[in-house]
């Protein structure tokens, strides 16, 4: 038996005096109850946005990329900005579910399920952008390497754009498997207490006939651990490869060796902000404050201030290198196109600086980290900032080429470019609303596993253990 004791200095991860049964009741309640009016309102807004996105994409597919305001130098505009932004958001889910599992961070159990769902939906949104950016989207399958009748004409395995194809599709598949394998036991819980025939049948199918056998749990644990071990380098590789799309080019402002760690830190930064946005809403709407506690929110804010500061150091390093390299083009890009407030896109650079580097610094204060309103507000600010970061990288490097003769006019998006982006919000939130209604939003089995060590009711009973003599404690609790 493992040690069933945790210091009282640590905050409980589950508040209230819960039993296993109570945990099931609390988490399954939204699935068994009728959705609230608020849920319907949110869901229909999301579907409406999705429909607008579908129409925007329809126009782009029918009339071509000319529906967007891309011009002769700004070939990647909002579209690739949104792609990188969504992929980045996904990273926090894997960080929470995989990296924090390996680091034995107990607080991940409260938020991992929803964060993983967020990852999957975000990657689904991200994938749309490069696919539709191809223009002739019906030829998208050309990116797959298979023996074909066109030569065979193979894809270029040396190209970072193809690495992206492999990275994103692998990332999506592995995240989905990880998420679903964790869901199987929880679906079984919903199935076994279902009181309508339809629910019993559907959750019966979804739970794959899970019984809770000890041998199955043993394999399940092994599977989760190895998938976590695989996902950890995977998540780092995905954003590294996304950054290679830029870093392996010779465009000033992109041709930078710090891109991989800087992109990964930025991805985690924006992803945690999105987790905060979603979890603050979910815990409120579904009354799950006992499971997603203020301690969880504080822990995530610590990650935000850390990664935000890493990103800040990266920005400053880039500026320094722009000067230190004494390369005219680098210098121009960093010191004029970006850092000079009154250059055409200077506003976006300073917007990014304000949102990503300056404002998250308030999370050095414990009071701010534990304030729901501040956290919610900041989570939005950070995501705006991280969107600007990608916009700055793409547009300020592209709109002024090496030759002044190929400098482009001011790039701003059309309604259909914006519509496509809005549509992915629709897709994301449609999926998230359905997830919140039909899936256990908190990992039930994992909460039960940590309940007796970290639950408030159980921790309070541990005072007597703390007063125990060391020899007695060892005698009772050590492995035999």
């Amino acid at each position: 038996m493992h040690l069933k004791y945790e210091s009282q200095l640590r905050e409980p991860l589950v508040y209230g005096d819960k039993t296993y049964k109570q945990v099931t009741e609390d988490i399954v309640r939204p699935i068994e109850a009728k959705p609230t009016k608020l849920w319907y309102v949110g869901f229909y807004i999301a579907v409406a946005l999705l429909m607008f996105g579908v129409y925007s994409v329809y126009r782009e597919v029918t009339y071509g990329i000319g529906q967007w305001n891309l011009n002769k130098t700004v070939g990647w505009g909002w579209d690739i900005t949104n792609f990188v932004w969504w992929v980045g958001i996904g990273h926090a889910g894997t960080l929470i579910s995989a990296i924090l599992l390996l680091f034995r961070q107990g607080w991940r159990t409260g938020v991992n399920r929803a964060a993983e769902a967020m990852t999957i939906f975000a990657v689904m949104c991200a994938g749309q952008f490069p696919i539709f950016h191809m223009g002739r989207v019906w030829m998208a399958f050309f990116v797959l390497p298979y023996p074909n009748s066109r030569g065979p004409l193979w894809v270029n395995f040396n190209s970072p754009l193809l690495w992206d194809v492999f990275a994103i599709s692998t990332y999506f598949t592995v995240s989905l498997l990880f998420w679903y394998s964790g869901l199987i036991p929880d679906f079984a819980t919903v199935r076994d207490r279902a009181f309508t025939k339809l629910r019993k049948r559907l959750y019966g199918i979804a739970s794959f006939g899970w019984t809770g056998s000890t041998k199955h749990w043993q394999r399940h644990e092994s599977l989760s651990l190895v998938l976590a071990g695989l996902s950890t380098p995977l998540v780092l590789s995905v954003h590294t490869i996304v950054s290679f799309d830029f870093a392996t080019s010779v465009i000033p402002g992109w041709h930078t060796t710090i891109f991989p760690p800087y992109f990964v830190a930025g991805a985690i930064f924006s992803g945690f902000a999105m987790v905060q946005t979603l979890m603050i809403i979910v815990r409120k709407v579904f009354a799950m404050e006992d499971y997603v506690t203020i301690g969880h929110i504080e822990a995530m804010n610590k990650v935000i201030v850390l990664t935000g500061s890493i990103v800040g150091i990266a920005y400053l390093t880039e500026l320094f290198m722009g000067w230190y390299s004494q390369n005219k083009y680098e210098g121009y890009t960093f010191w004029y196109s970006r850092a000079y407030l009154f250059s055409p896109y200077g506003w976006s650079y300073w917007g990014m600086m304000a949102c990503n580097v300056l404002s998250p610094q308030i999370f050095w204060f414990r009071k701010m980290r534990r304030n729901i309103f501040v956290t919610f507000f900041m989570s939005i600010i950070v995501n705006i900032g991280m969107w600007f970061e990608r916009f700055v990288i793409i547009v300020t490097s592209l709109y002024r080429d090496y030759l002044p003769s190929s400098w482009s006019v001011y790039y701003s998006p059309t309604i259909w470019e914006i519509g496509f982006y809005a549509g992915t919000f629709g897709l994301f939130f449609t999926c998230f609303f359905l997830f919140a209604k039909y899936f256990p939003v908190i990992a039930i089995a994992e909460i039960k596993y940590v309940l007796k060590t970290t639950g408030e009711g159980y921790k309070n009973q541990m005072t007597k253990i703390e007063d125990q003599k060391l020899e007695d404690f060892v005698h009772e609790h050590a492995h035999h």
Partner: protein
């Protein structure tokens, strides 16, 4: 499809379950399985189950992925269609590392999940006998397989004396079959739940 006779004992606390498992095993009974709502660490050892080799399978799938990637790419770029990309070497190993890595992870993950599902007989539409509906909620359900010589009354009394809250004898199918869960009896009465 063979039906077997089982004695079922339900516990509500791991601290009671562990000594009970030990005593049942020492008494010479064969534990068919213990169904738990979450992974109870150490229970597999207490029951005398061997370690799983799933991670070894994962390793094998992983290196299969690496090998697939490097052999496919090198064949394509050096034999099948040697494309001249700016006069660079056809065998460009450093540029292939990202894809080799991705395929390693992909093969390992997909292979492991499929193996897991195969070993545990998990798939959509699969149905199994569930000894207690609360085994996925808050009960730890110990199931002991009976032989011809087993005295079920004695065994039930033995389980109760070791802390089982509820005991029963069940004749049940031991494997899996394709079936629907809504054909079962409802464990819970129809009830109205007030919206949160």
């Amino acid at each position: 499809m063979a039906k077997k006779k089982f004695v079922v004992g339900c516990f509500d606390d791991e601290a009671v379950l562990f000594p009970a498992v030990k005593k049942v095993r020492t008494a010479g009974y064969k534990i068919h399985d213990v169904y738990t709502p979450f992974a109870v660490h150490g229970l597999d050892h207490a029951m005398g189950l061997r370690e799983t080799s799933l991670h070894t399978a994962g390793f094998i799938y992983g290196i299969t992925g690496t090998t697939t990637a490097i052999s496919a790419i090198s064949w394509i770029f050096t034999k099948d269609w040697p494309l001249n990309i700016g006069g660079k070497p056809h065998f460009a190993l450093p540029a292939w590392i990202p894809i080799m890595f991705e395929l390693t992870v992909l093969f390992a993950a997909v292979g492991m999940v499929l193996t897991f599902c195969y070993l545990c007989q998990l798939a959509p539409f699969v149905k199994k006998h569930h000894f207690h509906a609360r085994a996925t909620d808050d009960l730890f359900v110990m199931v002991i397989e009976c032989t011809d010589k087993t005295n079920t009354d004695d065994l039930q009394a033995f389980l109760s004396s070791n802390g089982a809250l509820e005991t029963k004898v069940e004749v049940a199918e031991d494997g899996w079959w394709l079936g629907r869960y809504d054909k079962d009896e409802m464990p819970f009465e129809e009830k109205q739940i007030v919206a949160a």
